[in-house]
Amino acid sequence: MSAFDDTRTPRVPFWNDPRTRSIAVQLIMVVALVAVGYELYVNASANLAKLGKTFGFDFWDKSAGFDISQSLIPYTSSSSYGTAIIVGFWNTLLIACFGILFATLIGFTVGIMRLSKNWLISRIATVYVETIRNIPLLLQIFIWYGAVLKPLPGPKQALNVGGFYLSNRGLNMPAPIFEGAAWMGLAGLVGGIVGAILLRRWARARQLATGEAFPYISVGFALIVFMPFLGLLLAGWPVTWDVPVLGAFQLSGGVTVNPEFIALLIALSVYTASFIAEIVRAGIQAVSHGQTEAAGALGLRQSSITRLVTIPQAMRIIIPPLASQYLNLTKNSSLAVAIAYPDLVAMGGTVLNQTGKAIEIVLIWMIVYLSLSLLTSSFMNWYNSRMKLVER
């Protein structure tokens, strides 16, 4: 009959067409977003006009007028607000780098301790993890700051260990001053790194060809450490030391590590390490027993199994959450503001206060932190695509 002969697709009313619906929904969304954005824009300009303020980064070049306790680049009170913010940015990166280093070391140690067959060791690691990660980081920062400041002696009674002075003003260390032919040391460093890379390449090739292994890691490491010294020795050791000296109030000269930095570093690395430990534990446990058993059946030693079978596979699982922990650590370093460590947020806050430029400063913060997190996530994507299991 005709009803069955009709091969045309039945007419779908337009409101039931998914495409129409999707376009309609998106249209409504765009209109709503534009409306909200416009409303915010109008409000902001009305409010700024009412307060007699303008939007703009013209404050960037104006003289800041305040001093900063720690700076990696030249800064004085007559530098600009912009420089102050850049100082804060470098300080954020500094604490993040050191924090990541120490958090990784502690985290891996504790993570492996948690898997130890020694009951006491694994218990201690468990207690560490369960205690540290259930206490707010900010509270830990305050506690560490108190723990760093209170028991340490004043600068005049500073603990002196081989030219290193530890007091409640921080750690004062001798600083090397390079003169004249000190570039030889740098050349040595570069040479060492290049040598290590070449060594690794050679060792791999030899192992593939003959099956003989060569301890290229330790030898390469030794190269990188000793070549700069060799360079400096050849140049006649053109290094003098700027040694801390006790002044009327405190030690000056050399390099000073502020107690704020020390407290923040300890707090950040101890806290983040408790999360890294769990990641490491989960990563190692996730390597299936069949892998280790198969390696054992092939006659590999326990140490070789760990190094060649377990760790490479565990790393595949560990690295992505590890990267996001690194990002968390970087973001958490903004809590520096609570203990007067001049990081990006603290410096931005001071500038905000002196200039009243709230929107501009918040924009700077967001751009910097968003770029850092985008960098991290693009690294993770790259890593994941490289390490993805090739499945048949």
Binding site: Q26, M29, V30, N47, N118, I135, P136, L137
Partner: protein
């Protein structure tokens, strides 16, 4: 068959005890503490370390501690441990902040009701989960808001009711569409829709262009009255159509419409109602109260928004998808502290001139947006775990998108992410400490503020305060993380190796 072969034993061999060094306490100790030389040395070192930590902490907190006293004098003894009288003196303030002392029962009621509703929800064996959750998500926040602030809010009550009535009328005019399907619905709803549309046009004309009909009654805008009548008529038409049909499908729709409308009006009345409670401004709140208010608001707000964002992120519509991704990644990419600075310094600039929220409200807005982004990622994890076959099967049955999500996907996904939700509540709970940086007094902030009191200034005051605060936070967070592990184990049965 002959069973008495000489080499076949007829009785069991006697059961021998395992070697003494493999079982019992000794065996356990040998296997787990002293299996070989290197491990034995490690064990001894670790034991010494554990003893050192424990003896110091316990000695300080218990054996050498000061237990009674009225002021700092009790605690400035040489070699004294923790200063517990300080905690006793300040404890009420740590819980309630500067909340007026004679009004603290209001906070207690909130704590009690919240706990009474939450605990049954957390125990899997108890029934009425849905009602309980609805109570916690909607009724409890309202109750807490009114109790804690005192209620009696001044807002355009009349305008709000009129808004609700108009809104309900418009919805009512559209109701036939949902009951009879779009094609038949339009036919039956047409007169109502036209009435509503004319009313709306009138409203827009008078609101946007200042168009006014000549006045009939004094003091009442005729245009407004006309528009209202038209919309009511349109709504009534829609309702009549449904009643007339006597359709089974109409009941739930009608009920939802009625309850929704009544609920909105009830909320408005409750917010407006003068219960005779003294107004307590939020700058007087503090301590655990603020910590819980911030954390609970964050989680209550972030659940629905997070679900929407997670669905949006997996949507096929590019604008919805990229908006969700952008929103989530922006909030997740910045530290909470900048969000709080933004809420307290930048947000006021974006509000309509003349409006203003107090600081706690601003911080709550910031926290809510921030935690929504994290919640969205938690929910997304759950959504991804649902096999695609589930969605395809639902589509094959002809279920529309929202039914697929509501009936098939979300019930399964949300069950999976309960541990994730608890974990994000834990981190939110810890993160509330950051509000001290913008000048609110949460639990930690108020503990630290107490150190400045000259009456209690001693070397042990700060360590005692920090210790107690850390202990309080630890108990809360550890308890919650245990709960989340318990749920995880319950959900994971069957996957054990």
């Amino acid at each position: 068959m002959d069973h008495s072969l000489a080499y076949v034993r007829t009785e069991d061999a006697p059961i021998l005890k395992p070697p003494a060094n493999l079982v019992g306490v000794r065996g356990w100790i040998m296997a787990n503490l002293f299996p070989n030389w290197s491990n034995s040395i490690l064990t001894i070192l670790a034991a010494l370390f554990a003893y050192w930590v424990l003896s110091n902490v316990l000695g300080w907190a218990l054996f050498r501690a000061t237990w009674t006293g009225e002021s700092r004098d009790a605690c400035v003894v040489e070699g004294a441990g923790a200063c517990w009288p300080f905690v006793q003196a300040k404890f009420a303030q740590w819980i309630y902040g500067f909340y007026p002392i004679d009004q603290r029962w209001r906070v207690n009621v909130c704590f009690f009701v919240g706990a009474a509703a939450l605990i049954p929800l957390l125990m899997p064996s108890l029934p009425y989960k849905k009602w309980n959750a609805l109570f916690l998500l909607f009724a409890f926040p309202l109750l807490a808001l009114i109790l804690l602030t005192g209620g009696h809010f001044s807002f355009g009550f009349g305008a709000f009711i009129s808004f609700v009535v108009q809104f309900l009328a418009i919805v009512a005019a559209f109701l036939p569409l949902s009951v009879f399907g779009i094609e038949n619905g339009i036919k039956s709803a047409k007169p109502g829709l036209i009435l509503v549309a004319v009313g709306l046009v009138l409203r827009v004309l008078s609101y946007a262009l200042g168009f006014e009909l000549p006045a009939i009654f004094d003091g009442v805008s005729t245009t407004y009255l006309m528009a209202l009548l038209l919309m009511l008529a349109g709504g009534a038409w829609g309702i009549l159509q449904i009643f007339g049909a006597g359709n089974q499908a109409s009941r739930p729709v009608l009920r939802a419409w009625l309850f929704g409308g009544a609920g909105l009006c009830l909320v408005a009345v409750l917010l407006k109602w003068d219960f005779g409670l003294e107004y307590v401004e939020t700058s007087q709140w503090g301590g655990l109260l603020v910590t819980l208010v911030v954390a609970v608001t964050g989680i209550v707000f972030s659940l629905p928004v997070g679900i929407l964002l997670a669905l949006g992120r997996r949507s096929d519509m590019p604008i919805v998808k990229y908006f969700s991704i952008g929103f989530i990644e922006i909030w997740r990419g910045v530290p909470l502290i900048t969000v709080l600075f933004m809420a307290s310094y930048m947000l006021p600039l974006f509000l309509p001139p003349g409006t203003n929220f107090d600081k706690l409200t601003r911080v709550l807005i910031g926290i809510a947006l921030f935690s929504s982004a994290y919640m969205a990622e938690v929910v997304r994890g759950g959504l991804q775990a649902i096999p695609k076959g589930q969605i395809e099967a639902a589509q094959a049955l002809g279920l529309p998108y929202w039914n697929t999500m509501n009936l098939i996907v979300l019930p399964q996904a949300l069950r999976i992410v309960i541990p994730g939700i608890v974990n994000s509540f834990i981190s939110l709970f810890k993160d509330t400490t950051l509000v001290t940086v913008v000048g609110l007094y949460d639990l930690m902030g108020i503990v630290i503020a107490g150190f400045a009191d000259a009456k209690w200034a001693s070397a042990q005051t700060a360590p005692t305060g920090y210790f107690t605060a850390a202990l309080l936070f630890w108990v809360f967070c550890f308890g919650m993380s245990r709960y989340s592990q318990y749920v995880e184990r319950r959900l994971n049965t069957g996957h054990k190796r």
